[in-house]
């Protein structure tokens, strides 16, 4: 409601109280104040005559209960009784309130709403590119702004129609979780936003246009939340021969491939070929790489009993990491703990070496060592989505892209400065908050207010280390082992978008305690990697 609208409605309320005041002189001057408030309440949402009169009468009854039967005795220093006697005394006011409400609703149904500038406001077109944590979070927040009256028209464009909960991707690769259970449809997550399933091929910031296929979508504000893609740094053969773990397809294919290796090895007489099939190499000792090697280890060892021709002693798991310790983002003692847990299971952790090249059958390290394997997983590098350019989009602290008008960038594709002079890390917890802040900032700009800086302190870091073991750092408090594993599952279960998905994942976990992992191969390992 505009201020003028409030005045008009209040005036109508007071005007409509005059008949009651004339015929019922006992109402007193206080009734004018009551009438003023009721006028604003009724005028807040104006519809037709019938609904207006009905709503007015309803408000009149409530007003009688709250004012005549409750507030008036209190103002007279008495305790409200709401008794038969009070009803008897207050009945004339009830009739007055019902008639006043009905009359006010009737009158206001004919009074046009006062609008700013007397023109119909055009909706501001906001386009969000990317259906990940940041994009969906921004769309959700903008829905709330729209509900509060912001004149915005939001379109979310994404090449997948679901929001992937990436922290649980490794568990899909290990067969512990069903793929669809860790992904929420964008259409239900942001049910009041226009959704466009497609890949944005070009952004024209000067013309303010986004190209999706053959269509062009104009925008007034653009939010780029396109995320990141695996980056092989141009190492020979890596892009062609390595498996990645960024999508549901990656995870399900990797699972099928690993089971397929065991199927082949089960009847393979040649020792060298068996070694080739039963060696699993993961490059990158960050969160993704550590969790992947741990989950692959769990998967293979939990299903190997189905393959009598495979001796568990033949299985070999290698984690290759260029740093001196794995999990560089974690505190050193937790990283050491994780390393010890992996080593104690027989996972070979090769530190201080890099992958130099890969072929269809071998992985070469920069120290000249090589391994015969047909399962090489690359998690050692990411880069912003090519749509963002060669490098991450530089933004200011308010998430506005530097040098681009009305373009905002959030999530993994953005390089957002932190107050301490560094940049915020590309994690899901940051992306979620950035989405919220960018929506608030766009709404603020539309209102002519100042946008605010993005400020967020990492809540904690959690890494799953396979079979009921994890490590966690929550604002300096450290956990490891079974307690950390429970914390990991509890936190991520709570963060999973959608109650139905939470329940499905919970069931998956419970069933995983009781039943063996499924070794059904759902796809054929013929798709190029």
């Amino acid at each position: 409601m505009t201020k003028r609208d409030v005045v008009v409605c209040a005036g109508a309320g007071v005007l409509c109280s005059l008949p009651e005041l004339i015929v019922q002189r006992g109402l007193g001057a206080g009734y004018v104040v009551y009438a003023l408030v009721v006028g604003v309440l009724i005028g807040h949402r104006r519809t037709g005559v019938a609904v207006g009169v009905a709503g007015g009468a309803l408000i009149g009854v409530l007003g009688w209960l709250l004012v005549q039967l409750s507030l008036v005795p209190l103002l007279h220093g008495e305790i409200p009784a709401w008794s038969a006697g009070a009803v008897l005394r207050g009945y004339p006011v009830l009739v007055a309130d019902v008639l006043h409400g009905g009359l006010t609703g009737f009158v206001l149904a004919f009074v046009p709403r006062v609008r700013k500038g007397h023109t119909t406001r055009e909706s501001v077109r906001i386009v969000i590119v990317g259906g990940g944590f940041a994009g969906v979070s921004a769309a959700k927040r903008l829905e709330r702004h729209a509900l509060r009256g912001a004149g915005i028209d939001v379109t979310l464009v994404s090449d997948s129609n679901f929001l992937l909960f990436t922290p649980m991707l490794a568990e899909v690769a290990s067969g512990a979780l069903e793929p669809a259970h860790i992904s929420a449809p964008v259409r239900s997550a942001v049910a009041h936003t226009m959704f466009r399933n497609g890949r944005v091929s070009k952004v024209d910031a000067d013309a303010r246009l986004v190209q999706v296929g053959d269509d062009v979508i104009p925008y007034d504000h653009l939010v780029l939340a396109v995320g990141s893609v695996p980056h092989s740094f141009g190492l020979p053969g890596v892009a062609e021969h390595a498996w990645t773990l960024k999508s549901l397809v990656d995870a399900t294919r990797l699972r099928d491939h690993v089971i397929g290796r065991l199927e082949l090895a089960d009847n393979e007489p040649d020792g060298a070929t068996r070694e080739h099939l039963l060696t699993f190499v993961v490059a990158g000792g960050g969160f993704a790489g550590t969790e992947t090697i741990a989950e692959l280890f769990d998967l293979v060892h939990r299903i190997v009993h189905f393959f009598p021709g495979v001796d568990p002693g033949e299985l070999r798991f290698l984690l290759v990491h260029p740093g001196e310790r794995i999990l560089p983002e974690m505190p050193a003692n937790l990283a050491d703990y994780a390393l010890q847990r992996l080593k104690s299971r027989g996972i070979e952790c090769l530190l201080g070496v890099r992958v130099a090249k890969a072929t269809a059958s071998e992985v070469w390290l920069d120290n000249g060592e090589s391994f015969s394997t047909s399962t090489f997983v690359w998690t050692a590098g990411n880069r912003p989505n090519p749509l963002a350019g060669e490098r991450a989009i530089e933004t200011d602290a308010r998430l506005k892209a530097v040098g681009l008008d009305n373009v905002w960038a959030v999530g993994d594709c953005a390089r957002i400065p932190a107050p301490d002079g560094t940049h915020y890390p590309p994690t899901a917890q940051h992306a979620l908050r950035q989405g919220t802040v960018v929506a608030d900032n766009i709404a603020a700009v539309l209102k002519g207010h100042q946008p605010r800086d993005f400020r967020f302190r990492t809540l904690g870091l959690l890494v799953a280390l396979g079979h009921r073991t994890a490590a966690a750092d929550v604002r300096g408090r450290q956990f490891s082992g079974f307690a950390a594993w429970l914390l990991w599952r509890g936190v991520y279960l709570a963060k999973l978008p959608g109650m139905d998905k939470r329940i499905r994942v919970l069931f998956d976990w419970v069933l995983d305690l009781v039943f063996p992992r499924d070794i059904v191969v759902t796809g054929r390992d013929e798709v190029s990697r």
Partner: protein, 444 residues
């Protein structure tokens, strides 16, 4: 113009029905006194003139509305406040008092106005040819009869089963649109009041005693009829859902959104909204000193225990509100309307019926007991208003079903609002007006 003419014709029909009752009561000379005469014929002419004008206005107001019956009843009730309580004394040169004794004296007029409202609404439906050609299928009538029979047994009315079965069989004839349980409950409460007016107050005395006595309404039966109507509607709706689950193989007959979708969150909102309403109601309970009585439900007389029990009940009712009225409100007033209607139902079911049963006292719906329950009625209405408003605010944050993304979706939402919620504002307001008219129904 069609609405105006239909309304005028309907006004004639309504005027004849209402005029007949006025002739029976001998109140036509009162109307004639407006033109300073005591002639009943002049009074009837004046009455018919008013009836036509008021009917024409109704025709214009509901010209764009499909569901008009409940609107007609509300229109009649509203004109009782405006006509005999306000304008008639003014036209006669008398001061307007609006006091309770005057209202009590005008109860026959209230019934007459409800009859008038119902008649003009039904006549307009007939003039629009909006009467279904065929009766509902036999299975549906049987379902209604079973629902009504069950409700009749639960409503503690004498001959409740027979009355309930009759009301149940008529329910699907009167209400053809399928409805969610919450709105059906409110609609059923109004249906129960109609049965009280037209059966208990009118048909029964006419058939048994050959006389019409609207001045001495059997108010002690009103709670029973409200329960009868509400429970009939709820049972009918649930039996319908059950029969669809068991026997219908067409997925288009089922709601688009599954119960689990956002349902758990809705229950949480119900808890919060119920607590908010309970906090409002607590003030009434403390002042009236009823908390020890509530504590009796768990075998205690401690007010603190009573408060805890009250807040738990508030939350349970809040959860039930979330289950029954999810995705039914679209603004604060609609939330308030559903909430107050639901609060009124719980005054009848909770305060007047279940509380005595659970505390080992006999159920007492006598006028004195109803009068003693006024503080609780005020508390329940305030509870319902807070419950409905808070629930709407919470739901609007995450599930604003009325917000649409394109024209097709807007059409769907508009159709839903027109079909299922078209008469909702009339239902809420009529229910709440019934609640505040109860003091006038209690004999002096």
């Amino acid at each position: 113009m069609k609405g105006l003419s239909d309304g005028a014709i309907a006004g004639v029909a309504g005027g004849l029905v209402f005029g007949g009752s006025m002739a029976l009561y001998g109140t036509l000379p009162t109307v004639a006194s407006i033109v300073r005469t005591g002639s009943a014929a002049v009074g009837f002419t004046m009455h018919m003139l008013f009836a036509v004008i008021i009917g024409a206005a109704f025709g214009v107001i509901v010209a764009a509305r499909r569901e008009v019956v409940v609107w007609g009843l509300l229109y009649g009730a509203f004109w009782w406040f405006l006509g005999p309580l306000t304008l008639l004394p003014l036209f006669r040169g008398h001061p307007v008092t609006w006091d309770l004794p005057s209202a009590q004296g005008l109860v026959p007029s209230l019934i007459g106005h409800l009859c008038y409202g119902l008649t003009i609404a039904v006549t307009i439906k007939i003039l629009r040819a909006d009467i279904p050609d065929s009766r509902p299928p036999t299975a549906v009538l049987v379902r209604g009869g079973i629902a009504g029979g069950i409700a009749g047994l639960l409503s503690l009315l004498p001959d409740g089963f027979l009355i309930g079965a009759a009301a149940g069989v008529l329910y699907p004839v009167v209400f053809r649109e399928r409805e969610n349980t919450g709105p059906a409950l409110v609609r059923g409460s109004v249906y129960g009041v109609l049965w009280w007016v037209f059966f208990s107050l009118t048909a029964e005395p006419l058939l048994m005693d050959l006389k019409l006595d609207w001045a001495q309404p059997p108010v002690d039966q009103l709670p029973g009829y409200i329960l009868l109507g509400a429970l009939t509607a709820v049972c009918y709706t649930w039996l319908g859902s059950l029969s669809r689950v068991l026997f219908v193989d067409d997925v288009r007959m089922f709601p688009v959104e599954s119960p689990g979708s956002r349902g758990v969150r809705a229950l949480g909102y119900g808890v919060v909204a119920g607590l908010a309403g309970g906090a409002v109601f607590t003030a009434v309970m403390v002042v009236v000193g009823v908390l020890p009585t509530v504590a009796l439900m768990v075998g205690s007389q401690n007010p603190v225990v009573g408060l805890v029990v009250h807040l738990i009940i508030s939350q349970i009712i809040g959860i039930s509100y979330a289950v029954l009225f999810r995705r039914q409100s679209y603004d604060l007033i609609s939330g308030m309307g559903w909430g107050m209607s639901y609060g009124f139902f719980w005054w009848v079911l909770g305060n007047l019926t279940l509380l005595p049963v659970l505390t080992g006292r006999p159920v007492d719906w006598s006028p004195a007991a109803l009068a003693a329950g006024f503080p609780s009625l005020a508390g329940h209405l305030a509870y319902g208003a807070a419950l409905g408003v808070v629930y709407h605010v919470l739901e609007a944050r995450t599930n604003p079903w009325w917000q649409t993304r394109n024209a097709a979706e807007q059409t769907r939402v508009d159709t839903r609002r027109r079909h299922t919620l078209g008469s909702a504002p009339a239902l809420w307001t009529l229910t709440v007006l019934i609640a505040v008219v109860i003091p006038a129904l209690i004999p002096r």
